[in-house]
């Protein structure tokens, strides 16, 4: 399937060295992932490698094998403290230097999997410049909180909201966790639309068949997109006429509403120049 990943429609592919790999197979998995990174064409799909967390004996070996193979992103699970993240950041920097790779070229995505990590999220996402993305490890987090994970995800509403706010403030991406029922396309679509509404930048898929539905979920509905296009068109005219506020389809429009409309267009992949529309 790795050979076909460019054709599945995902923005990133995550090659896992953590939970998907039994301890006895860690060495061979590491070598296979490094080989795949070097030899397979990913055609613009971001290559993300989830390494083992810093409490294990494997995380450093993972980095030593993987970093020279040139991943785009290292995904660090169970990111608990600023110190943990900086330790990983430093080791990546050393390996980048040793292998002639551009320093800081490899991004770091961190996964929050405990209540304490969620509480500290604002500090964690600013722990180093390399952190460009954050997500919740829903299963571990609910276990840590002593609650049951449900398909609605309501029990994680606060944690998600807290994390999204921190990510937005730090201007990095935040990713929703997986929807585990691979046979429930409708549930996945509803779940994805909710994630998009909340402000997640993306969502992890647990099976390739989920990718198209997730992409669909992040694409704004036709009526919202149509209204946003009307707002942008009217904003261009208003700007040339020097008006700061105006109405579109009976609703008042000002700077914040224009910025929201620009976000909708961005989600749909439609370019929009802010200088042409903002007052």
């Amino acid at each position: 399937m790795l050979q076909s990943c460019p054709s599945l429609g995902a923005d990133c592919v995550i090659l896992d060295l953590e939970d998907a790999v039994a301890p006895v197979h860690k060495d061979e998995a590491r070598r296979l992932v490094a080989y795949a990174l070097r030899c397979l064409p990913f055609d613009g799909v971001e290559k993300v490698v989830r390494i083992n967390d810093v409490s294990t004996p494997w995380w450093e070996l993972d980095l030593e094998e993987i970093v020279p193979a040139g991943p785009d992103v290292i995904r660090l699970p169970k990111a608990e403290s600023v110190e943990n993240i900086r330790m990983v950041d430093n080791r990546i920097t050393e390996l980048e230097k040793a292998n002639g790779l551009p320093e800081g070229g490899i991004e770091l995505h961190i996964l929050l999997e405990s209540a304490q990590a969620v509480e500290n999220v604002a500090k964690l996402v600013r722990s180093c410049k390399r952190v460009k993305g954050v997500g919740l490890g829903g299963q571990d987090l609910t276990a840590d909180m002593g609650i049951r994970k449900t398909s609605s995800g309501d029990e994680l509403a606060y944690a998600n909201g807290h994390m999204i706010l921190a990510a937005k403030a730090a201007k990095i991406d935040c990713f929703d966790s997986v929807y585990t029922d691979i046979n429930d396309g409708e549930g996945l679509l509803a779940n994805t639309r909710k994630a998009a509404t909340m402000g997640f930048s993306g969502k992890s898929a647990i099976h390739p068949s989920q990718v198209r539905i997730i992409n669909q979920g992040f694409c704004p509905p036709e009526d919202i997109l149509s209204h946003a296009q009307d707002v942008i068109a009217a904003a261009k005219i208003a700007r040339t006429e020097g008006r700061g506020a105006f109405s579109v389809n009976g609703k008042m429009v000002d700077g914040p509403v224009i910025r929201q409309a620009m976000n909708v267009l961005a989600q749909a992949g439609i370019p929009c120049n802010s200088e042409e529309v903002l007052p």
């Binding site: 076909s4 599945l8 064409p41 390739p208 198209r212």
Partner: protein
């Protein structure tokens, strides 16, 4: 055997043993009205004296009464696919009776017919007209020294050949899941119901003697539906079983669950939508393969979303097509072969789920061939080449693996022909510089869709523009071939023995499109 180069660039014989001179393929437009007349053979049919009891006590008696002699031609249909038991029982009886040198014609011989090899060796069979695979295919490519090449025809080509008299059937053995004492028969009802009897219907009209073979003799008259009427049937034989209809829907007739195949199916749907082909009143054929069925699923969602009603769906009919009919998304289904035993029940309850014969379906020379009315055909392939030629018959190892079905017929007729296949299977590339066996000429293929993108035939500039305007992932087929081979490597050529032609591939108009050679020993 003298070989000449045809319009597809293939060396083909200009004469065949047991047949005489044949003409090489001259291009897909060779189907245009030349000759100007569709010659219908003069059929001499046995007369059944008034008052004759048509029910034969057993198969042997029926064969004796049919007047079958050594060297004559017998025919079968393959509507029960790998569940068929009619061919086995008839050939066993013929062999026991000491027949020799019969010509066997079937709409297909599948893996369940591997035993035919035994009857070639025993001298019962001297020539075969059928798509072959499995042990029979292997025999012709590795062992055969005495039999002439197998003639492989499309479904429409077979109907044409029978109708014009290129082959005359002496005795047709037609399996039926319900039959009455006068020979009215169908495949729609009864415990062994298999659906459409489209191939049998054609044989019944053009054979000297027709024997209905059934495991379900019903009270006269057969009801509620008759597929082949009693006036075409000379005898009725009742067997314990004609086969297992549950084996109809095996193998290639289930919707795919593979993520990459679903991705390519989605690309194919996107191309259809971008071309504007999915519009009110459109007509559609999708193969029975898992990928084609996935395309149909996306087409269905689009039709629901846009509230589109199509005209008809055609071909091998699957259960998903019946859903489309019953939802009102298509006005009618034209069913020449059912890929699900439940299609019989559908034809009985849905008045516009029509059963059609093979000629109506795809004979290019008749006055109303349905494949010529297709707007869209979505078809599978074993592999394709950079000239958009499609191979349906031979596997990567060179062996005969499958039949052509109505693929060249649908491609030849449809306004938009989309061939869907993964860029590689089991590590072996699907896009070749040149396919081993041309079955559907590239001139009748508009697009080849893989999970890595959409390749559009250069002669369809309009389609290319529509695809690009819609932002679809269009790729050059030569680049796709190279990219795929960068992953898979390049296969070594198969070592054929070009002094031995195992099978001849006939285009739908009767010209010779390609040959399949024997394997080097």
């Amino acid at each position: 055997m003298t070989m000449v180069k045809n319009a597809a660039g293939r060396l083909v014989p200009d004469e065949l043993p047991g047949i005489g001179s044949v003409r090489p393929f001259e291009g897909v437009t060779g189907v245009a009205p030349s000759p100007a007349f569709n010659t219908i053979m003069e059929v001499k049919r046995d007369v059944v004296p008034m008052g004759t009891n048509k029910i034969a006590p057993d198969l042997r008696t029926a064969i004796e009464r049919s007047g079958l002699c050594d060297g004559m031609t017998i025919s079968f249909h393959h509507h029960l696919r790998n569940g068929d038991r009619v061919v086995a029982q008839v050939l066993e009886e013929l062999n026991c009776m000491g027949f020799k040198n019969l010509v066997l014609m079937s709409s297909a011989l599948l893996e369940c017919h591997n035993f035919v090899v035994d009857y070639i060796r025993s001298g019962l069979i001297r020539q075969i007209y059928a798509p072959i695979r499995g042990a029979v295919g292997d025999y012709f490519q590795t062992e055969n020294e005495k039999l002439p090449p197998v003639i492989i025809r499309t479904h429409g080509g077979r109907a044409r050949a029978v109708e014009e008299g290129s082959i005359a059937v002496d005795v047709a053995f037609i399996g039926a899941s319900a039959c009455d004492m006068s020979g009215n028969m169908t495949g729609m009802s009864g415990p062994s119901a298999f659906g459409s009897l489209g191939y049998g219907m054609q044989d019944a009209r053009f054979s000297r003697h027709v024997i209905a073979v059934t495991d379900n003799l019903v009270e006269y008259p057969l009801r509620p539906r008759i597929s082949i009427p009693q006036y075409l049937v000379h005898q009725v034989v009742v067997l314990d079983s004609i086969g297992d209809p549950q084996k109809l829907a095996t193998g290639s007739v289930r919707i795919t669950k593979s993520p990459t195949q679903l991705a390519l199916a989605y690309h194919a749907y996107e191309l259809m939508a971008a071309s504007g082909a999915i519009c009110p009143g459109f007509s559609y054929q999708a193969g029975g393969g898992g990928i084609s069925m996935a395309v149909t699923q996306y087409v269905r969602e689009y039709m629901q979303r846009k509230d589109i009603t199509g005209s008809f769906a055609l071909g091998g009919i699957t259960a998903d097509m019946v859903s489309l009919l019953e939802e009102g998304r298509f006005q009618a289904l034209f069913d020449v072969q059912s890929f699900d035993p439940a299609m019989g029940a559908s034809m009985l309850r849905n008045p516009t789920h029509y059963e059609i014969d093979a000629s109506w379906y795809a004979n290019p020379l008749n006055a109303g061939c349905m494949t010529h009315q297709l707007d869209v055909a979505v078809l599978g392939a074993l592999d394709v080449d950079v000239d958009f030629n499609v191979n349906l018959l031979t596997g990567h190892d060179g062996y005969l693996r499958s039949g052509m079905g109505g693929h060249p017929d649908a491609a030849g007729g449809a306004k938009l022909t989309v061939v869907v296949l993964p860029s590689f299977r089991r590590g072996l590339p699907s896009i070749k510089k040149s396919v081993q066996t041309i079955c559907t000429p590239g001139a009748s293929v508009d697009a080849i869709v893989t999970e890595r993108g959409i390749c559009i035939n250069p002669r369809r500039e309009d389609l290319l523009k529509q695809a690009l305007d819609s932002g679809l992932n269009v790729v050059d087929i030569e680049k796709l071939r190279q990219d795929t081979e960068a992953l898979t490597g390049v296969m070594d050529p198969v070592e054929f023995d070009e002094s031995r032609v195992a099978a001849v591939v006939e285009y739908r108009d009767g010209s010779i499109l390609d040959v399949v050679y024997g394997m080097k020993r």
